[in-house]
Symmetry: C2
Subunit: 202 residues, 2 copies
Amino acid sequence: MYGFWASSCTWRVRAALHFKGIAFEEKSVDIVKEQKQLTDEYRSINPSQKVPALVMNGETIVESMAIIQYLEEMRPEVSLVPKSPILRARMREICETIVSGIQPLQNIGLKRHFDSENKFKEFAEYFTTRGLESVEEQLKKTAGRFCIGDQITVADLCLVPQVYNGIVRHKINMEKFPIVSNVYEHLLKEKTFIETHPKNIK
Amino acid sequence: MYGFWASSCTWRVRAALHFKGIAFEEKSVDIVKEQKQLTDEYRSINPSQKVPALVMNGETIVESMAIIQYLEEMRPEVSLVPKSPILRARMREICETIVSGIQPLQNIGLKRHFDSENKFKEFAEYFTTRGLESVEEQLKKTAGRFCIGDQITVADLCLVPQVYNGIVRHKINMEKFPIVSNVYEHLLKEKTFIETHPKNIK
């Protein structure tokens, strides 16, 4: 896997690989200081010049959720997906709220499009908060210890890196999101998230 | 289905329902002038205050891609997904590039977060162009008449509304994207996209 320790999309895939017990090597592509994603070398791996990218069975797959679904289809034994169709739909609602509704609107690549650091901060904070409000509502229907009952699913792989970003980068006040916070705290105690945590990868 | 004629995410779901031959009624929620998504009435349908939302089998499903996957699982006979796992992954790469990489960064809900109409236009145009560059590369691997060979898939449901927005709203010069343009032109001639086209819904 090509990834970066601080990338939330990389963390999703890193956690999926770990959870499924698939041995992998992580090659660091520094997307911040060194801007390695822009090199010709990396462009030949992922023309979109983003992390993560996974090389598996001779194929390179990009885009974190596409990678995770591919892993789920290739290695379904340790599943990250609920058994019932309606719970799968609930899981995907949470995933999409984070993956399309929060992550793209707070990532640091946007910063240079704003007149000031402060303008970017406001923007990132607004959309993180708005997205977490939706997730909080969604979790009222489904949460147990984790997003969907007591099974770790793809929704948890999306939630943990996003809440971590929210707290660490955007200083979001999580008191407004008690269910999200509770699920997040439970997940942080799970081996999957301890061993794939950016602090332990850096 | 609760949706809005001009919403690209609504068009994705409208096209999925049409393609699968599922009879449905579209209830208009004007998200632009009347801001009906913010009413208490609509909040009780989708607390995220977004369209589309689908009521089916007594359940309300939100988030367009979650809805489409639910439809695929409930009505797999007329499939929107390729048979091989690697082509499914290729399809999802295209979907995610559009759904997370373009749509959230060009939608008109962002406008009020920018100092001027022009600033928003630049931003929307930049991310639409960048995303279409990725899709153009991705289509080199898979395109036939449509995104994945000659089968209409979920990738096409994402592509058509996004390119339409790109051309009509953001005045993107499509000459730089010959494969995307070619696939788009083919798709516009398909009954699914003719009958679900915003011009024919308005």
